[in-house]
């Protein structure tokens, strides 16, 4: 799966970092970083949770 974040939409709510700390991180500059854009199956559930809970709908998941 591929994680795509629309950084124009992202407002650093950070809820994705809580849902999937392995995949998302907000650094000291206040911006979101995607730690792994192509996670394996074992993280699919967490990635989905992050996408659902993002208040700005900034996270899209694409199956490959």
């Amino acid at each position: 799966m591929r994680i795509i974040v629309d950084f124009d939409l992202c407002q650093s709510h950070g809820l994705c970092t809580e849902a999937a700390p392995e995949l998302f991180q907000i650094r000291d500059d206040g911006f979101l970083y995607v730690l792994n854009e192509t996670p394996g199956k074992e993280l699919a559930g967490k990635a989905q949770k992050a996408a659902i809970e993002c208040p700005t709908g900034a996270i899209t998941l694409k199956d490959d």
Binding site: Q11, S12, G14, G30
Partner: protein, 403 residues
């Protein structure tokens, strides 16, 4: 379970439908909503939509995916009038009845209005997309605006007014804006920010009446003075939409009364979102939460609860979270606080609007407010979900202990 009906086609209702399908429910699914619009997102209404930064269509959920993948029957512009719980039927305003095996109540809340203002034009509330579009048209006439209520919606409207270079006065019966939820120090800082952007305040004084001939002309305050107004925006909180449940047997009382698993008092009926009052295990108190993330989480939890059958289900525990954007200020708050909680500023200063404040009561950490510091909120959210003591949280905040 062959038929699930979800009443309320907004955030909680939609997220519930999506979760039902994700969990493998393949029966009939009906989503009923009073508004004519497809489900849309409300937070941008008082922010990007009011300022004209966004086309209204951008607020629509599932713009890309559409509704076909959900295989649901979307009944929009339809209001549920009554519930016959014994017969498991919902009565709609076109006279039709919907039979269900499982029902989700997600009817949210509506804006409170000022009594006696119904006959006057120029008086607005802000809850729906239609409200936002009408208010936007009114603001483009460069009116003199009075906002009644210095809560989040009122302050966001004031912020939008100033972005549009519209004169605005905020009237609030409490001594400070946001006093109740966030405490006086934060309230003062927020007031100064708005004043710096040209907002006038009339604080500590109530509204006696809205006066005018056909159109509102001024707001009469309880001290007898009058504030001239072409447009009045009333932001004095919301009332849960439970009137349609009267006589149904579903217990209500400032919201639909749910058990800790989000089941109502009637078999086969669960609830989610702004309309729910339940006992939150994380805080050990009964609450109704009027925030976005709660509607998302409860929508999903209600789906799980419904599919778990009559006796299944887990307690729904959650950390209330919300944000508010005003000018360049981004406030993010997690927890549950009262005005008299102890507030300790652990990072930054109120004056430069870049800070983190912790709230404590009875030795426990109860809330955290981050102002323009999104990266800091997360640590404290974690401590809050772990029900940390206030001392532990203050210790964690010391620079030597932090990263």
């Amino acid at each position: 379970m062959d038929t699930v009906v979800v009443v309320g086609a907004s955030l909680a209702g939609l997220r519930c439908c999506e979760a039902l399908r994700r969990r493998g429910y393949s029966g009939k699914l009906v989503l009923v909503g009073e508004e004519a619009h497809k489900p849309y997102d409300r937070p941008p209404l008082s922010k990007q939509v009011l300022c004209g930064e966004w086309e209204p269509a951008r607020t629509e959920f599932r713009r890309k995916e559409g509704y076909a993948p959900l295989a649901l029957e979307l009944q929009l512009g339809r209001r549920a009038l009554a519930l016959h719980a014994q017969a498991r039927r919902v009565v709609l305003d076109d006279g039709k009845e919907l039979a269900y095996d499982g029902l989700v109540i997600a009817t949210g809340a509506r804006a409170r209005t000022l009594r006696g203002s119904e006959a006057l034009s120029g008086v607005f509330t802000l809850r729906t997309l239609d409200d936002a579009l009408q208010l936007r048209v009114a603001l483009l006439q460069q009116p003199r605006v009075v906002v009644v209520g210095a809560g989040f919606i009122g302050l966001e409207v004031a912020s939008a007014c100033r972005k549009l270079d519209v004169a605005v006065t905020v009237v609030e019966s409490m001594a400070l804006p946001l006093d109740n939820p966030l405490g006086s120090a934060v309230g003062q800082a927020v007031q100064r920010l708005h004043e710096a952007h040209g907002v006038s305040f009339r604080l500590g004084v109530g509204v006696a009446a809205l006066e005018g001939h056909g159109r509102v002309e001024h707001v009469r305050l309880s001290d007898g003075t009058a504030v001239p107004a072409d447009v009045v925006v009333v932001g004095i909180g919301v009332t849960p939409n439970t009137a349609w449940l009267e006589g149904s047997g579903v217990a209500v009382g400032d919201g639909v009364l749910c058990d800790p698993t989000l089941a109502t008092s009637v078999p086969g009926v669960v609830a989610a979102g702004d309309v729910v009052r339940w006992e939150n295990p994380l805080f050990g108190e009964s609450m109704r939460v009027e925030h976005w993330s709660n509607a998302v989480e409860q929508g999903q939890a209600a789906a799980a609860r419904l599919l778990a059958g009559p006796t299944g289900g887990e307690p729904f525990s959650s950390l209330p979270y919300f944000w508010s954007d005003q000018y360049d200020l981004k406030l993010q708050f997690a927890g549950r606080v009262r005005a008299d909680d102890e507030l300790v500023l652990v990072e930054g200063t109120l004056a430069d609007r870049n800070y983190v404040a912790l709230y404590g009561r009875a030795g426990k950490l109860r809330g955290v407010l981050a102002s323009n510091r999104p990266q800091q909120l997360l640590r404290y959210r974690k401590l809050l979900s772990e029900q940390a003591s206030f001392d532990a949280a203050l210790n964690a905040a010391r620079p030597s202990a932090g990263p």
